[in-house]
């Protein structure tokens, strides 16, 4: 009898764990669907730099000419803004950061946080 009780509780227990975690799975699917939807409609709407969700190749390729910053398809004001944001995000004082190039994200490039 007592054994049956603990068995029942155990079945219920593992069921609850699964129930909660399945709820979380559904939630994640919903979340990622919404997130994709938003970033897609954003990509259609306006410039992709907005809202910090796109991939910004901020601190890019080193080597050739140090201290030179090439702006590709991006105006200088936006570039300055990006640099300020990067300083902020990384916590690196502005005078210790060097940017080599800032390029506009194209419409066909996806968000890429590979290897997360």
């Amino acid at each position: 009898m007592e054994f049956l009780d603990s068995l029942l509780i155990s079945v219920l227990g593992i069921a609850i764990v699964f129930a909660v975690l399945v709820a979380l799975i559904l939630m994640i699917y919903l979340l990622s669907a919404i997130s994709r939807q938003i970033s897609k409609s954003k990509a259609g709407d306006s410039d992709p730099e907005k809202d910090g969700q796109e991939t910004i190749p901020v601190i890019s390729a080193p080597s050739a000419e140090p201290q030179t910053l090439s702006l590709i398809d991006v105006d200088e004001k936006t570039a300055a803004m990006i640099m300020a944001i990067v300083c902020d995000e990384t916590g690196i004082p502005p005078n210790q950061l060097y940017f080599k190039s800032i390029r506009r994200v194209q419409d066909e490039a996806p968000v890429q946080n590979e290897g997360v």
Binding site: I9, L12, G13, L21, L24, I28
Partner: protein, 378 residues
């Protein structure tokens, strides 16, 4: 008078009252210190625990004494309040949250199923403990060893069966350190070579928004379903939100460094100090140690078997070896999956894929603890 004073001093010294049980406990403390330092058995927790055992079993120090009649209590008595009141485990969970990247779990949400399945051992150990004569609160506390998650085990045991705290804690952390020895045989026994060779595909990318929203939603959903889980999941996810939101870097750093370190020292030493000879040297401690191994083994079994199920369902896209990582024991268990995967197929890199179940297991065991608390607490 001098003689009398010296006699009193002798009587009040530890030598006069040092007996075999305390000597055994001191030897146990030395053994744990050895394991912590030389074998690197979860040293951050086991070293303070071992030192706490040492201090509590040197006689007549009063270092864990409660205050009586206005005389203050012992040092460790006060530091212990944070354990007794359930504060330290939650704060440690905040730090763990701030150190945890749930990205791999978000990239493959089915990981959560493995994190659920690998709590199997909790219930197996619970049932067996009941059969061995432990009461429900005790059995639940012993079972939670199978969650392979130290703060969760301490949290639950403090609430349900505080007299078992040192045995449960030491078992939990020791077996976590022994994961690389416990899991591989089980993993190999339950899987075919073909299954173990499975190379898993690349994971989808995860946006920053998802990572930020995730801890909030986990809190809401799991606390709504199981309110008693709030202190654990709540703090774990608060720490993770600090980490991911990107605007409170200094809080995140403090949570995962100074705060967790201070609390770990206090928790370790005082949990160790509850292991007095009178409390610890009982047959039931031995049973708990055995049952804990049992729990770990069956949690691994649960994870691997569910991994095989997923292998079958996905027609060979999921390597069942990542199932064992669902026990939590971050990141040790995930590394074991990686090593076993590579042993079967040198081109196999399972680490990232195993991190999903691994962090899911933290949530899974917290939920299991919440369930047990809801059933048998208060």
């Amino acid at each position: 008078m001098l003689l009398k004073t010296m006699e009193n001093l002798w009587i009040s010294s530890g030598f006069a009252t040092l007996d075999l049980p305390h000597i055994i406990m001191l030897l146990l403390a030395f053994a744990l210190i050895y394991l912590a330092i030389v074998k690197q058995f979860e040293p951050l927790v086991l070293l303070p625990i071992a030192f706490g055992i040492l201090l509590a079993n040197l006689p007549i120090t009063g270092i864990m004494a409660e205050p009586v009649d206005g005389a203050p209590g012992g040092l460790l008595y006060y530091l212990y309040q944070g354990v007794k009141l359930g504060i330290y485990p939650s704060l440690i969970f905040m730090g763990i949250g701030a150190m945890t990247d749930f990205g791999p779990l978000l990239a493959r949400p089915s990981s959560l199923l493995l994190g659920a399945a690998a709590q199997f051992g909790i219930y197996v150990a619970f049932i067996v403990s009941r059969l061995l004569g432990f009461n429900v609160q005790e059995a639940a506390s012993i079972g939670i060893i199978g969650g392979a998650d130290g703060p969760t085990a301490i949290f639950l045991t403090t609430k349900l069966a505080p007299h078992l705290l040192p045995a449960v804690t030491i078992a939990a952390y020791s077996y976590m350190a022994l994961i690389p020895m416990i899991q591989p045989p089980i993993m190999r026994l339950l899987t075919t070579k073909k299954e173990r060779q499975t190379v898993m595909g690349q994971m989808r990318t995860v946006s920053k928004v998802e990572k930020i929203v995730f801890p909030i939603l986990v809190t809401v959903i799991s606390v709504l379903l199981l309110p008693s889980v709030a202190p654990l999941i709540g703090m774990l996810m608060l720490g993770n939100l600090f980490r991911e939101c990107g605007v409170v870097e200094r809080l995140s750093k403090t949570a995962q460094n100074e705060l967790i370190n201070i609390v770990t020292i206090f928790l370790g030493v005082t949990v160790g100090a509850t292991a007095t000879a009178e409390q610890f040297l009982k047959l039931e401690t031995l049973k708990i140690i055995v049952l804990g191994l049992f729990a770990f083994a069956f949690s691994t079994v649960g994870g691997v078997l569910f991994g095989k199920l997923m292998y079958a369902v996905t027609r060979g896209k999921v390597n069942p070896l990542i199932g064992s990582a669902g026990v939590s024991a971050v990141p040790m268990a995930a590394r074991v999956s990686q090593i076993e995967g590579q042993r079967a197929n040198p081109a196999n890199y399972l680490l990232m894929h195993a991190m999903g179940p691994n962090v899911a297991g933290v949530i899974g065991s917290a939920v299991a603890a919440g369930f047990l608390l809801a059933m048998y607490g208060g």
